[in-house]
């Protein structure tokens, strides 16, 4: 039983990590990273590491994506003048 849960959690981590790399748009990537954070927290908990899981939940699913989003906001606002006239590098709506 535990074994199955661990295997599933591991596979989810692998999938989420691959997705986080494959998604090239930083906004979407930060959302995938948030999902990865949650999945990692689950994995750590089933690996009997609640301390690390808690840490990962707070950091991986909230703090890091938030910082990434704030950076995107700043960078895109700043870069817009330079990018005007071009298709906005891969993150257009």
């Amino acid at each position: 039983m535990t074994e199955t849960v661990i295997v599933v959690a591991l596979l989810l981590v692998a999938v989420a990590a691959t997705a986080a790399v494959a998604v090239r748009d930083p906004v979407r990537q930060s959302l995938v990273l948030a999902v990865l954070g949650v999945v990692l927290a689950v994995l750590f908990t089933v690996l009997q590491a609640p301390d690390v899981g808690l840490s990962q939940l707070a950091v991986g699913s909230a703090l890091t994506p938030l910082l990434l989003l704030l950076t995107v906001r700043k960078a895109k606002r700043r870069g817009r003048r330079a990018e005007r006239g071009r298709s906005a590098g891969g993150d257009g709506p």
């Binding site: 906004v27 930060s30 959302l31 948030a34 954070g37 609640p50 301390d51 899981g53 808690l54 840490s55 707070a58 950091v59 699913s61 909230a62 703090l63 994506p65 938030l66 910082l67 989003l69 704030l70 950076t71 995107v72 906001r73 700043k74 960078a75 895109k76 606002r77 700043r78 817009r80 003048r81 330079a82 906005a88 993150d91 257009g92 709506p93």
Partner: protein, 272 residues
Amino acid sequence: MRLWLVAVGGAGLAALLVAACLRLPGFGGDRHPYGDRAVEAALSRHTANTVSSVTFDQRAFDTLGEMSILFAAVLGSVVLLRQTRDEHRARPEPAAVSRPVRRYALLVLPVALLTGLYVIAHGQVSPGGGFQGGVVAATALHLLYLGADYRALERLRPLAPYEAADALAASSYLVTGLAALLAGSAFLANTLLPYGTFNTLASAGTVPLLNAAIGMEVACAVVVLLAGFLDQAVEIVDEGEHDEHAEHDGGGKTGGNAADGGDHDDSGKRGK
């Protein structure tokens, strides 16, 4: 060219690591000499949460280093995100927040804050401790941004005291360590306080002290970091930026579904 390099390097590294994995002791093995010793040592010092004992007692010197990294990263980010000469601040206008959102945020805020403090305080007994609780408490504070607005957050969060508290928390960790040295023991030795009763708040000697110092350090650090980024994203403008209240990407697009709701701010909230 780069893809070739990545292919060659990645393949080589992958082969090496997979070969190594096959030689690793099987997952779930029973041989953990250091781990077993650590559990014994933790119990001998009346620390129910062995992980806390390792973090704040047996390998407290590591934690000193980790804390310094945190401290340095915050100090560095403050320096890197400072307002430079060619930039000025644009005051964001206060914006109306819908009532349910405000109620929800103001309700959750104290709960989240208390949870953070609880997690910090019980580090030596149950899973948790300064690192986790600090992040929770600091993130909770930013619910204010959701519930009220940026200016309310700024009023509740004058940065200077947080920066000073961050540094003072780091100093108190060091001073606790030095006190042990002055008392005739080794640096960061857990010999100052009685070990107390197993599984209570007042157990494990200096572990709760160091834990509290770390909790304060992490909370202040995260507040200062988020403040730096929020400042950049919301307030600081330079000539290259134009006020793009009509544009809807970046923060605007994701505003609604950011994982924790902290970054809900979109162009609607900014004034011109």
